[in-house]
Structures are given as structure tokens and as C-alpha cells.
């Protein structure tokens, strides 16, 4: 008997206004992360609310929207890094990662952050060597087993295409690298943690077009192994790299679905205005 395709959150959330309770199905992949009714605030100001969505495994999902619409807030909620921002708080709702609520009382934020890695907008390298940057989290989580730290670092630098460029100067300070190289180093550092999902918060906004191209190529390769959720305000980038897309506006999800469909047949006027460049 054929299994029915996965559906969206059940009707117990139907008290919320449409379309927030019934998002279009994202496709036939299994959802690795599911967000149910999240509301988050900075101090007393609500940043995002009525958030329901899910993210499939081994797929790139773009979170799009104009500046300040809550895209970054949403992805930081997915790995419990929002609470690192002073005053920021998830007020209600749940995020299910492989079926378990990461905001449940038995969940340890550090474990979640290790399993769901994040790349930030500005590449941030730590004041240590290139090799030690790669191993920063891996050493803490005791990931390096059976291989030398150098081999472990080289393996992950190879994955982001940096080994050829920096292989002979792993002991040099990481801040000598270019912006694009630093961003790939940050990606290698996250990969070295052996996460299950990679979140990217506008990873190309602070780097040049050539470096952006390299990051996009890496995303295309990495999606075979990971679910990638990328925040971008760059429509062309969303179109190029993602299969699924979520469009946010003023702290709410307006529309979600296959990227091709969302661009070709937007179902709301706001989405239509956004993808045509009239807002954003």
C-alpha cells in the first residue's frame, strides 16, 4: 500500500488565520525540521509570530523576505542560537527536529547547536590558526578520533575547497585569509562538528561575487548530505540554490513551497510584489 504524502500540521492549529495553518506541501521528502506556532520577541517587541513550516532533508530551502522581516530570527530559532542574543526569547511554539521538540525541558541547547550548525552573515574567524579554527568545535565535542588533528582539519578544508589554497599554511592565523576564504573556513569549522543540518544566515552578503559563486557551488554539493536552510534577501540566489522557499514578511510566513512554483505562480499579492522587486 502506498504511504500517503506527508501533510502539514494537524487541524489543532486551525484557530489561527489562514494561510498560516495550512502551508502548501513542500514535496515528497521527509521533513527533518518542523516548526509549529513559534512566536519570538526581542525585549517586549514581537519579531516573528504564527510560524508554521517544515524543512525537508537533503534539500536546500531558502528563507526569503525583505530586511527586518524575521528571516534571521527564524533560522536562529532552529538551532537555539536566538537565545544567545541578549533580550531575545522564544515565547511559544515548538521546533521538532527528527520528531523531538528542541525546546522541550530535556533538551540541552549545546547538543542542538552541535547537531544543527549555523554559518553567520559576516565570516567570523577566531584568534587562532587556520587549523585550530577548523578544530574549534570538533575538539570540544571530541570528534577527532582515530586520525591526527591535522588530517581531520585537512579533510574538512578539502570539503570546502580550501585545502589547495591554505594547505601549506595551516598554522598561520586565520585572519590573514580573504573574506571569501574566511567564510569557507567557517563552513569547514561547522562541518568539522559533523552536524545534521546546516543553517546559513545570508552567508554571501559580506563577500564578493566570485567568492559567492564558490559558496553556492559548495551548497549544491553539500545538499546531497545535509538539509540546508539558507536565509537570503537575494532573489536570484534563492532561485539558483534552492528547491524549496519560504517567503516571510513583517514577522510572518506569507507563502512557502517549491521555489520554481513560488517564483512562477506566487499565490499572494505580497509574494508577487516581492519577487517582482516592488517590495524588499
Amino acid at each position: 500500500m502506498n504511504k500517503p504524502p506527508p501533510t502539514n500540521p494537524p487541524s489543532r492549529h486551525a484557530d489561527l488565520t489562514a494561510p498560516f495553518d495550512r502551508l502548501p506541501p513542500l514535496g515528497d521528502q521527509e521533513a527533518i525540521v518542523e516548526v509549529r506556532g513559534i512566536e519570538a520577541a526581542y525585549g517586549g517587541r514581537v519579531a516573528i509570530e504564527y510560524i508554521y513550516c517544515h524543512f525537508p532533508a537533503r534539500t536546500v530551502t531558502a528563507v526569503m523576505g525583505p530586511s527586518g522581516c524575521g528571516k534571521s530570527t527564524l533560522i536562529k530559532i532552529l538551532n537555539r542560537t536566538l537565545e544567545l542574543t541578549p533580550g531575545a526569547k522564544v515565547r511559544s511554539g515548538a521546533v521538532y527536529f527528527r520528531g523531538r521538540n528542541i525546546y522541550g525541558p530535556d533538551q540541552e541547547p549545546m547538543t542542538i547547536r552541535k547537531r544543527i550548525g549555523i554559518i553567520h552573515q559576516r565570516p567570523i574567524v577566531f584568534p587562532m590558526s587556520i587549523q585550530e579554527n577548523v578544530l574549534f568545535g570538533a575538539r570540544f565535542h571530541q570528534q577527532i578520533k582515530g586520525v591526527s588533528p591535522r588530517d581531520y582539519a585537512e579533510f574538512h578544508l578539502e570539503r570546502v575547497g580550501l585545502l589547495d589554497e591554505v594547505g601549506d599554511r595551516l598554522s598561520e592565523p586565520a585572519n590573514r585569509l580573504s573574506g571569501g576564504q574566511q567564510q569557507r573556513l567557517c563552513l569547514a569549522r561547522t562541518l568539522a562538528n559533523e552536524p545534521e543540518i546546516i543553517l546559513m544566515d545570508e552567508p554571501c552578503s559580506a563577500i564578493d561575487p566570485v567568492a559567492t559563486q564558490r559558496i553556492e557551488d559548495l551548497i549544491a554539493g553539500l545538499k546531497r548530505e545535509y538539509a540546508i536552510i539558507i536565509v537570503t534577501h537575494n532573489l536570484s540566489q534563492a532561485r539558483r540554490v534552492s528547491e524549496h522557499a519560504v517567503f516571510m514578511f513583517a514577522g510572518r510566513i506569507i507563502e512557502a513551497g517549491l521555489t520554481k512554483r513560488l517564483f512562477a505562480e506566487p499565490r499572494t499579492e505580497l509574494t508577487s510584489n516581492f519577487i517582482s522587486g516592488r517590495i524588499g
Binding site: 542574543t85 552541535k114 574549534f136 561547522t190 562538528n193
Partner: protein, 285 residues
């Protein structure tokens, strides 16, 4: 027809020139002042400085007219060393608590205010406090230990304020990026925050140590004696450079030796500062 380019405001240009000249003059004064002081000390004091002066105890009659400053140099360095052992962990620990762990901004403000008050207390008051509490009440006697702890108290507020500022200068995004990798706060503090703040903490520690090295008042009643043959013990009193200078000038024993002593005092501070600048450069790399 295009208009001729308008002439810039003549008055504004004159004011700008006057401001530039004034800035140069004031800047030059700032550079010249330490230069003149060190130059003056060098002219008057360089003649007496040799290896024997730096290593031998004072001699002659009245004492101080001959001989050297060996025990005083030794004593001053030891006092600052003990002071640092006391002040550095306390101050950096306090600053770490306030910047990394404290969740109550009001507490940070109160501690900061109290520390600033502490830093503004005249050093002679520290001397009196050290004498009353350490020397008399705690029976440490006039000793290297009592003087070292007193100097530690002098350095503590300066280092705490400077370390707090150095730690606060580390960007919040650096901490966020590190914590996002699922590591503990202590790991981030140890491997990222303290490394970033190290040059700043080092700079303020040097400044505080220099201030303590040249202070006579805190050690006057707690550690120093007029004469010592050298040799250090925690429970024994020591000679110090600033108090030796004070006695030489106060009793009009030998102005030549006084200038020599002052030059050594300033010279040690200069050497330490240069070394710290090099170390800071190395840390930044």
C-alpha cells in the same frame, strides 16, 4: 556657459590652518614633556650609573652618599611581582564575571562605580590601610608580603576597569559564533574572548604595575626600610626605589644618587613598556 568654480570660504581655511598649527603645537608638547624629563634625568643621573650602582647596597656616611641601589631595585621588583600575583587573578576574574556571567546590569554598574572610587583613592590611604590591617591587625609586620599585598590593592581597581573594557571590546558576534558551535561559555571565554582581550589586559596591567613600581606611599609604612643588604624573604622588609629616592632627597644625602635612582626607576618602566608593546604585537599576530 559654465560658471567659474566658486572660491572656498577664506575664513574657514584660515580657521582650519590655525587649528592645524594648534594641534601640532599641543601634540609636540605632549611628546616633548616626557622627552625633557627623561633627558634631564639622564644628564644629571647617567654619570653615577654603572653595574656596581645597579647591584650594590647603599654605602657611605651618611648612608646613601656612596654605593648603589641593588637592594632597592630588587625590593621594588619583588613588591610589584607579589602585587601582581594578588591583583591580576582577582581583577581579571572580577572583570570576567561582570562581562561574561553577570546577568544583572545594575550589579555591573554598582561594582564599576565602586571600583572607580577605589581607583581614585590616594595611594597614601592604601598605605595607611595596609599598615593598619596587614601590618598591625594581621601581624604581617613591615614586610615584603604586607607591601606586596598593599601594592596589589593599588593595582586591583585599575586592572579590573581596564580588563572589563578589554573584554567588552570583544565583539558580541565573536561570542555568538563560538557558542553556536555547541561549546560551553567557559570554553569560549578561554579560547576566544581572553585571547582577543589579552593585549588590552596586558596594556592595563603594565600601566598599573608601572604605577605601583613608582609609588612610595603604599610601601612607606608597609614594606620599606632605609637600608637593606639585599636578599628577599616574605616576612622581611625591603628597600624600594621610590622610598630610597625619597630618603636621598628628603635628607639631602646625595642629589647625584637621587637622579641616578630616578633614572633607573624611569628606565625600568620604559624597558617594561617596550617589552609589552612587542608582546602585544606578537599576541595580535
Amino acid at each position: 556657459m559654465s560658471e567659474a568654480p566658486s572660491l572656498p570660504n577664506r575664513q574657514a581655511i584660515l580657521v582650519d590652518r590655525a587649528f592645524t598649527v594648534l594641534a601640532w603645537l599641543l601634540g609636540a608638547t605632549g611628546i616633548a614633556l616626557p622627552g625633557v624629563i627623561i633627558g634631564f634625568l639622564a644628564v644629571r643621573g647617567l654619570g653615577v650609573i654603572d653595574w656596581a650602582f645597579l647591584t650594590s647596597p647603599p654605602g657611605g656616611f651618611p648612608l646613601g652618599q656612596a654605593g648603589g641601589i641593588g637592594p632597592a631595585l630588587q625590593g621594588s621588583l619583588a613588591l610589584v611581582g607579589i602585587g601582581l600575583v594578588v591583583a591580576l587573578p582577582l581583577a581579571v576574574g572580577g572583570a570576567l564575571f561582570l562581562t561574561e556571567y553577570n546577568r544583572f546590569p545594575a550589579l555591573a554598574r554598582i561594582v564599576r562605580f565602586a571600583t572607580e572610587c577605589l581607583a581614585a583613592i590616594p595611594s597614601i590611604v592604601y598605605g595607611l590601610f595596609g599598615y593598619a590591617i596587614l601590618v598591625v591587625f594581621m601581624s604581617l609586620k613591615i614586610s615584603l608580603l604586607a607591601g606586596g599585598i598593599t601594592l596589589g590593592l593599588v593595582m586591583f581597581p585599575l586592572i579590573l576597569i581596564g580588563a572589563q573594557e578589554a573584554l567588552e571590546a570583544v565583539s558580541w558576534q565573536d561570542r555568538e559564533a563560538a557558542l553556536s558551535l555547541g561549546v560551553t561559555r567557559a570554553y569560549v571565554v578561554r579560547r576566544v574572548v581572553l585571547r582577543q582581550a589579552a593585549p588590552g589586559i596586558l596594556a592595563i596591567t603594565t600601566l598599573a604595575a608601572g604605577h605601583a613600581f613608582g609609588s612610595a606611599a603604599p610601601v612607606l609604612f608597609t614594606a620599606s626600610v632605609i637600608f637593606s643588604r639585599g636578599g628577599l624573604g616574605l616576612e622581611t622588609p625591603v628597600m624600594t626605589l621610590p622610598t630610597h629616592l625619597y630618603f636621598l632627597v628628603g635628607e639631602a644625602l646625595s642629589f647625584e644618587h637621587a637622579y641616578g635612582t630616578a633614572l633607573v626607576l624611569v628606565g625600568v618602566l620604559l624597558i617594561v613598556n617596550v617589552l609589552v608593546v612587542c608582546l602585544k604585537g606578537a599576541l595580535r599576530r
